[in-house]
Amino acid sequence: MRSETSPLLKVEGLCRNFGGLMAVDTLDFDVHAGEIFGLIGPNGAGKSTTFNVISGFLPPSGGSVRFRGEVLPGGKAAAASRAGLVRTFQHGSYVRSMSVGDNIRLGTVSGTPRPERAGRVREVAALLGLSDKLGETAGTLPHGLQRLVSIAIAIAAQPKLLCLDEPLTGLNETEVGTVLKVLDGYRRAGDRAILLVEHNMKAVMTVCDRILVLHHGTFLATGTPTEIRGNDDVIHAYLGQAHAK
Amino acid sequence: MQHVIQLGATALQIGAVYILFSLGLTLIFGVMRIVNFVHGHIFAIAALVVASLLPRLVEGGFAAPTAYVLASLAGIGAALGLGALIYFFGFRHFQRDLVGSFILSIGFVLMLDGVLLSLFGGSVRGVPEIFPGTLSVAGAQITMQRLFLCAVAFLMAAILYWALAHTKLGKALRAVAYDHEAAMMVGVPYGRIAFLGFLIASFLAALAGALLAPVTIVSPVIGTDYLIKGFIAVIIGGLGSVPGAILGSFFVACIETVGGYYLDSSYASIAIFTLVIVVLLFWPKGVLGRG
């Protein structure tokens, strides 16, 4: 079924080096509408760099990122976002001094017509269970809710591909459950997908449809969670360490 | 040829003082991430103390060089005292707060304008010659006093350069400038290092003031001219960078000298400002600035 539709995101031969260090080396993968695609790997595997290049926060050293059939201009974050590829950041991507409502509204400023913004904010807040927190200042909320605000901002921008950078770090189990439910619901709309970088293996294995494993900036393995779990290379490079703990 | 040597010597002499001055600015910025507008007044107070003490000491029977050393010590002491006061009652509370520290420094600048004027009066002071004589190099003339100034300035810059790389304090200063949180994590006492950095910077400015006192016009407003030039030097070189400050100082001194010689000096100052904009176009963080 997946091979019939053209992919939402197609990454081809992506490279990025910092001086002599090859952080990402000729990486290929694609993400299709309707799926949650996990990007995992041990620390320093090149996940963040890949993420930054795809979302336009870093220009690539080589290769291309094709989104909805169009090649994205490298290093133009705002352009990528307007095309429908919106990301969050690992360390809180919200504005501490603004209210939750204003924060979510930020997500609507470049894509939603002005009269619809307020409605959109309420909608997204409801989706993430933030409806009764709209007036509170984001910086004073508990950590878990702040994470939700970050995701809400990104969702408010109505992305076709939502890229989340470790959205579950520091959340308790209930909060993880909420987020996963939101992600699952988001994916179900059909024409959208999620690219997820996450350390919480249990969550990744539960929610992802397909997973790509990176190791030292290169492709290691790809497949369904079951396939990845059974992959010897992956167990050796990554899961082995986790299991050993 | 004689022109070229004379201009080169002039640029070197002017540059030497700018180096001392801007090294302090860049050091304070590196360690505390503040833009210190009071630097000019620390410089001025040292120069003023030297200029007002020196003639009295000479009249009191001291030999000129001895009197100069004594007056300089007093001037540098006064400047360091002022620096310590300003640090403790002000900047200590505003580290890494660019806006807050800046407005505070403007407050100090205005207040010190009034204080210096009422303490030292507005009139210009003459300073007797300390090291008479001139040196002639291939037709270019350099006074011994300027030569002395140059030598001390370069010596101090060299010592600072060496100390930053090799001493414990220097390493701590660099560590704090590079990443103060990481430095604190590995046990660098940030507060003390910041204070020492501020004092060293004040010392450099005071030294520049004491060295310049015999060769320039000393008035309570002398600091502003150097402050503007010093800032331009560090913008060009890159804030927080020691080699950058040295490079920027020479750059400013060269334009000032060459521009002042071939154009008229008020056009030279416009040229300096224009070039800063050009530098900024290509290097938004200065030529040697870090990210």
Binding site: A78, V95, S97 | G90, L98, I103
Partner: protein
């Protein structure tokens, strides 16, 4: 909705009262103090607007000067009438500042601040070199029409209220939210599709439009301008108004301008001690009232939290 109505009411009352005051004041000296307060409040509000995005626009003095000289030149050399010269001066300044911002806003923080400082000093030398602008001795005879003479204080205050209202609306709009996001977390703004560089240039340009009009008013009120009027001290004083009043509040720069201008008018009779007094006021305000007069009086509002948050961040 209730909040909105309250805001409108506050503006109506406050602005109306200020304009009324400017019209009923008959004492020429008090009127001159009031106009200066209004112009200073404009400059401070302009400075604070750029501070919303985390940058200190120290080129403010240069742009106020450009506005003043543009208005003065149009009025004296080109006979452009007052009502036209004022907005044109603002536009000219807005365009000039957009060019300046396009170059300098690639840099940030201290670089942007210091480049503004040096730009201010450079522009002053340039004025002094242009005979058509009166050189160093300044430009004279910048008069509003004689029929408006009695109304000048009212015109200045009304113009200020309108421009302040514009800045207020911009701050409370989504554009204002973007600026705040840029200050605290520029990446968030970029991640949701905002061209932050363009937004910065626009914000700079809007703020300088206000500064340009303020400069124009300055020229028409004083009728004489000189390069010395627009030294970096003008920006330093504007910063003092913002900080003393309370940078976290829209009213901050206005309160600061009113208080400090009044103080400086008192101090002017003290001769050379004015700097001493002024500097002392700034130091005391900054050290003892870090969130300004408004913060010290415990004004409660959504912004009061911000101060705490910021303070916490600096403590790290």
């Amino acid at each position: 909705m209730d909040n909105k109505r309250k805001t409108v009411l506050h503006w109506g009352l406050g602005g109306g009262a200020a304009i009324l005051l400017s019209l009923v004041l008959t004492d020429p000296y008090l009127r001159s103090v009031l106009t200066l307060m209004a112009i200073s409040a404009l400059l401070a509000a302009s400075l604070r607007f750029v501070m919303l995005m985390g940058e200190l626009n120290f080129a403010l003095a240069a742009f106020a000067g450009l506005g003043a000289y543009a208005a003065g030149y149009m009025n004296t050399a080109l006979s452009v009438p007052f009502v036209l010269a004022l907005p044109l001066a603002g536009l000219f300044t807005a365009v000039a500042s957009a060019l300046f911002g396009a170059i300098t806003l690639r840099a940030k923080g201290p670089y942007f601040l210091l480049i503004g400082f040096t730009f201010t000093e450079a522009v002053r030398v340039v004025y002094s070199k242009i005979p058509a602008l009166g050189g160093t001795s300044g430009m004279i005879g910048i008069y509003p029409p004689l029929s408006l003479d009695d109304w000048m204080a009212g015109i200045v205050v009304a113009t200020s209220v309108i421009l302040l209202l514009g800045l207020f609306a911009a701050e409370r709009s989504d554009f204002g939210r973007i600026l705040l996001a840029i200050r605290e977390n520029e990446n968030v703004a970029r991640s949701v599709g905002v061209n932050t560089y363009l937004c910065k240039v626009i914000a700079m340009s809007c703020a300088c439009f206000v500064a340009g009009v303020a400069g124009g008013l300055h020229a028409f009120v004083n009728t004489v301008i000189s390069p010395g009027d627009f030294s970096y001290l003008l920006a330093a004083f504007a910063l003092a108004y913002v900080k003393v009043g309370g940078e976290n509040y829209f009213l901050g720069p206005i309160v600061g301008a009113v208080v400090l201008v009044a103080l400086s008018h008192y101090a002017i009779g003290l001769g050379g001690s004015e700097h001493f007094l002024y500097g002392g006021a700034i130091i005391v305000a900054v050290l003892l009232m870090p969130s300004g007069i408004l913060g010290a009086f415990g004004k409660v509002g959504p912004r009061s939290v911000e101060t705490k948050v910021r303070a916490a961040r600096h403590a790290v």
